[in-house]
């Protein structure tokens, strides 16, 4: 999305300021722990969904995102518990671990396209899941790892409740979000769009598809690592069943429902899908069916996600205004 809106820069900044203000003041309105819990989960999911988004941006649909999510979580748990590293160290280390894994894996599988890539990443995810279950000595087997500590941040101290954690998650989220924003607007973003729209043309005009896909895959994995680390220190308990391929599917669905090819998409997706089960509480028996139907309806009527509604609206307004204006003149 390298199209530029016609809002003036200073207006933009004010707009941004207001949004940030709202975001940071949310916990101050006296929400119950339950809502804070949801918000924290929304942020963590948003981070992870954004990680997948940059991979989708290069036209590769990965079902191995939960595998990186897992590596990030287990990694962070180990770095803090076994090696006794500080939280921030573990956060970065686990993120980089995922990155390294992505570089190795990417070299092997990124030459595959379309369905083949989907299926192979699916297999990778299943394998990681099985390992998480069976390497009991490292992963604690089926019951996973308990007793993970609340994060401790230098100069701030222990982040020991859901309100404080909200700020931590929010900061990480904003860093990720704006980094991606910059990357998408950058020449590299243009490169990713090119690869997605036509790999052969891109390579025939001088782009190196493998390199670009690999970088995107790497960044996506690093972000997944961040999300995983945050998740581990938020729930302070991780188990293999948080990382099945259905989790990967969830991140994919968040992107699709929100709108995969706009940076706002995954965020909206996380915002919509994370609390969804709470709305279905009273309909326990039907929740699964409803969930499935919602997905089907979306694919049928809103394949480009919620964002597309706003975009269509925006363009529609712009068009009509311009049109009427021109009519005025003639």
């Amino acid at each position: 999305m390298t199209e530029s809106t016609n809002i003036k820069p200073f207006k933009k900044i004010i707009f941004l300021g207001i949004i940030l203000l709202c975001l940071f003041s949310i916990p101050k309105v006296g929400l119950s722990n339950f809502w804070l819990h949801l918000l924290d989960m929304v942020l963590i999911n948003a981070i992870l969904a954004l990680g997948l988004n940059i991979v989708l941006k290069t036209g590769q649909v990965s079902l191995a995102h939960a595998a990186f999510f897992a590596v990030g979580s287990y990694g962070s748990a180990h770095f803090t518990l076994m090696l006794g590293w500080p939280f921030l160290g573990a956060l970065l280390a686990s993120s980089l671990t995922c990155g390294a894994m992505a570089l190795i894996l990417g070299r092997l599988i990124l030459h595959l396209k379309g369905v083949y890539f989907i299926l192979l990443t699916f297999a990778v995810n299943e394998l990681v899941f099985l390992l998480a279950k069976d390497l009991t000595s490292i992963t604690g087997g089926n019951t996973g790892i308990t007793g993970i500590k609340w994060p401790h941040v230098p100069f701030i101290g222990v982040i020991g409740n859901k309100a404080d954690f909200y700020y931590l998650a929010l900061v990480v989220f904003l860093i990720v979000f704006f980094s991606l924003y910059i990357i998408y607007r950058s020449p590299f973003g243009r490169a990713m769009d090119s690869i997605r729209e036509s790999e052969s043309l891109a390579s025939a005009t001088g782009y190196d598809p493998m390199k670009i896909k690999l970088i995107a895959f790497f960044i996506g994995a690093c972000i997944a690592g961040l999300g995983g680390s945050l998740f581990a220190h938020f729930t302070r308990y991780i188990a293999p069943f948080n990382f099945t391929f259905w989790e990967s599917v969830n991140f994919l669905i968040m992107n699709i429902i929100g709108g995969a090819f706009s940076i706002a998409g995954p965020v909206i997706g996380a915002l919509v899908l994370t609390p969804l089960p709470e709305f279905f509480r009273e309909y326990v028996l039907w929740q699964q069916t409803l969930y499935g139907l919602v997905l089907i309806l979306f694919m049928r009527f809103l394949p480009d996600g919620v964002v597309s509604v706003f975009l269509t609206f925006y363009n529609f307004m712009k068009r009509t205004l311009i049109d009427t204006f021109q009519k005025r003149i003639n």
């Binding site: 769009d193 729209e197 043309l201 390579s203 025939a204 005009t205 782009y207």
Partner: protein, 255 residues
């Protein structure tokens, strides 16, 4: 006079069948060469071998006297060996302008540092590319359509856009794969004028085409291949009177 692009006994097998067989020829800088041959003669294969979409089974491809047959397509583009696609491949969901911009960014990448530091140098770079894009669009007469989506263009215009994208890498040798396939006389005329214009700006042209009249009128020198072998090379008149060529074509279609 040395060749800018030279193909030395290049072969390519697909499983059993030999698509290109011990083929050799050279192209002099600044010329317009036509590459013709009946269907299934191996034209497109040869084309893809030179651009690097397909690796050669054996033989050398020299570009400015350095062998490039091991290089990836994008690396050959960087050296100045650009191509267009037979079935027009474009960034369909992007504007015409964006299409060309992508080509420019791909072949003349900006300095990552200058972008991150957001210094004036990047702004200059950006302006330069945008000006260049406008020039190119003007050059192929697409400036009026710069903001419409590529997929909404007329067929002839799409071909022209393909050429503009190819030119965005400011190539030394420009290879066109059936540029006028499925065009009426008038459009064909426009394209051949365009190609001449490109050639005049100092770009060597290699064009693969079915349309005989088009090739004959356009090219100074023509290479004819059949069954993966070169059967003739020379000026249009020589080719037209070459018995092998005639027989090769009479077998398939009439000249």
């Amino acid at each position: 006079m040395s060749y800018i692009l030279e193909v030395q006994s290049v072969s390519r097998q697909f499983g059993g069948l030999i698509a290109v067989n011990e083929l050799s020829f050279g192209i002099e800088s600044g010329s317009i060469i036509g590459l013709i041959g009946p269907n299934g003669a191996g034209k497109t294969t040869l084309f893809n071998l030179i651009t690097g979409q397909i690796p050669v089974s054996s033989g050398n491809i020299l570009f400015e006297n350095t062998s490039v047959q091991r290089l990836q397509p994008y690396e050959r583009v960087k050296l100045g060996l650009a191509r267009t696609f037979q079935s027009t491949i474009l960034y369909n969901d992007s504007t015409v302008f964006e299409n060309v911009m992508r080509g420019l960014y791909a072949s003349h990448p900006p300095r990552w540092k200058s972008y991150m530091t957001g210094t004036r140098s990047f702004a200059e770079y950006k302006n330069k590319q945008e000006m260049r894009a406008n020039e190119l669009l003007d050059f192929v007469n697409l400036l009026p359509f710069k903001n419409s989506l590529a997929k909404n263009l007329a067929y002839g215009h799409q071909k022209a856009l393909g050429i503009a994208i190819g030119l965005s890498s400011s190539p030394k040798v420009f290879m066109l794969d059936e540029p006028v396939a499925g065009m009426n006389a008038e459009e064909t005329e426009q394209i051949s004028n365009l190609i001449r214009k490109i050639n005049l700006s100092g770009v060597t042209i290699l064009v693969v085409e079915h349309d005989m009249n088009f090739v004959m009128s356009l090219c100074k020198n023509i290479i004819v291949i059949n069954n993966g072998k070169k059967i003739a090379e020379g000026s249009p008149t020589e080719i037209q009177n070459n018995p092998d060529v005639i027989s090769a074509y009479l077998g398939v279609e009439d000249v």
